[in-house]
């Protein structure tokens, strides 16, 4: 059976995935294609909103082209004519298990990691936890999202090798963090801790505290003032933001819909 994925710009090329012949547009990321096909590929450092990074190594596949066979991450592998991808060879399984075991040994108590490990057939890691690093597995999603997507660049990788970590500059309160929470949303392990206290958003992990704005309907603090400011800045004079929390806005919307329904 030949499945065909729609092409928009690039020409279609023939490739083989797990023995299945398909045509895919050239240069697409292999991981995206695999996931679309319903092939289960584990990954911790990939997010469709940012460019591939290739850090966690969980998405490895065995690629073959001509006489060359090699193990490669699929997130940053581009589809080319004649590429043959296998996702469940013994070496792929072996590699994924070891990557998982090493990642899990960094943060053995994280449930999401335990589940993924169990799926891959990895039990208790053979390596002890090495040093106090919280739940961070250095996937870099927070750094990339903050830099490329949000444009705040509030955090970055610091140090190298085994001393690598993610922090704000000098570990101090960030001046450029807007409190958008994107880093918290993309973190696969729940490493980034935050809470609201006395009308302030505390992103504990980044040592950053941001004043919040109260919802003008219910009075509950609902967003960081800086975020509102930054979004307003991007909208320019064209749009204005209502200082209403999402809960109240939903209620207002329901109310309006209900009224409209009664009028009909």
């Amino acid at each position: 059976m030949i499945a065909v994925f729609e092409s928009k710009k690039m020409p279609l090329v023939k490739t083989v995935v797990n023995g299945k012949h398909i045509e895919v547009e050239r240069d697409r990321w292999a991981l995206d294609v695999l996931l679309e096909m319903g092939v289960a590929v584990p990954t911790l450092c990939h997010h469709p909103a940012v460019e591939p990074y290739g850090a966690c190594r969980l998405c490895v596949v065995e690629a073959r082209k001509g006489k060359w066979t090699w193990l490669t991450t699929s997130c940053d592998l581009q589809i080319r004519e004649g590429l043959n991808i296998e996702t469940d060879t013994p070496s792929v399984i072996r590699s994924r298990r070891m990557s998982m075991e090493l990642i899990l040994s960094r943060a053995p108590h994280v449930e999401s990691l335990q589940r993924l490990a169990a799926d891959l057939g990895v039990g208790r890691p053979r390596f002890g936890p090495h040093y106090d690093i919280g739940k961070c597995i250095l996937c870099g999603l927070c750094v990339r999202v903050c830099d490329r997507l949000i444009g705040a660049s509030a955090i970055s990788f610091v140090g190298r090798g085994r001393r690598r970590s993610v922090t704000t500059p000098f570990g101090a309160a960030s001046e450029s963090c807007t409190g958008c929470g994107a880093c918290i949303a993309v973190c696969p392990t729940g490493h980034i801790r935050s809470f609201v206290e006395e009308s302030a958003l505390n992103i504990e992990t980044w040592n950053t505290r941001l004043e919040m704005i109260d919802c003008k309907v219910c009075g509950t603090p609902f967003t960081a003032a800086k975020l509102l400011e930054s979004v307003q800045g991007r909208l320019g004079k064209g749009g204005s933001l209502e200082r209403v929390c999402s809960k109240c806005r939903r209620l207002q919307m329901c109310k309006r819909l209900g009224e409209a329904f009664h009028q009909v």
Partner: protein
């Protein structure tokens, strides 16, 4: 402590404010202040119009950068393979014994900082150490003491 940041501006001016020279700009800043003061990094980020997080990231990635103040004389002991085989450990331990500091530390009087580096490229003279960029070859415990005392005396004058 308030630092005069005019030198930072001069350094950046030398590189036409191009952020691609960041690594070299930081080297020059470090040459000037003997380490990378936080406020200097802030000025670098501001003048180059790049995020401070990037400057901080680069400043902690490369091993020659130091965010902590260092001694007047920087001792670098070579732990290249040849030096390692020919007695790097003795040399490092002798320095530690003699100055009472270990790797990465600075003496209380701020005269010496001890660093271990990957290779100074003078392998034929292993074991090697360098003080302020000057290489000393074929070291042994006694020569270590002689060289260090030379620099220590210099301080008194």
């Amino acid at each position: 402590m308030k630092l005069d940041l005019k030198s930072v501006d001069q350094i950046i001016g030398k590189y036409d404010g191009e952020d691609s020279w960041l690594v070299m700009i930081l080297q020059d800043v470090q040459d000037k202040y003997n380490y990378l003061p936080e406020c200097a990094l802030g000025r670098v980020a501001e003048s180059l119009k790049i995020p401070l997080s990037r400057v901080h990231s680069v400043a902690t990635f490369y091993s020659s950068f130091s965010l902590a103040e260092r001694g007047r004389h920087l001792i670098r002991v070579c732990d290249g393979t040849a030096c390692h085989l020919r007695g790097f450990t003795h040399i490092k331990e002798e320095i530690s014994r003699h100055l009472g500091i270990s790797e990465g530390q600075t003496t209380k009087d701020k005269v010496f900082t001890l660093d271990v580096v990957a290779c100074l490229g003078a392998c034929a003279l292993a074991p090697v150490m360098a003080v302020d960029g000057r290489c000393y070859g074929n070291m042994n415990a006694e020569k270590v003491r002689v060289v260090l005392d030379l620099y220590r005396r210099e301080k008194r004058h």
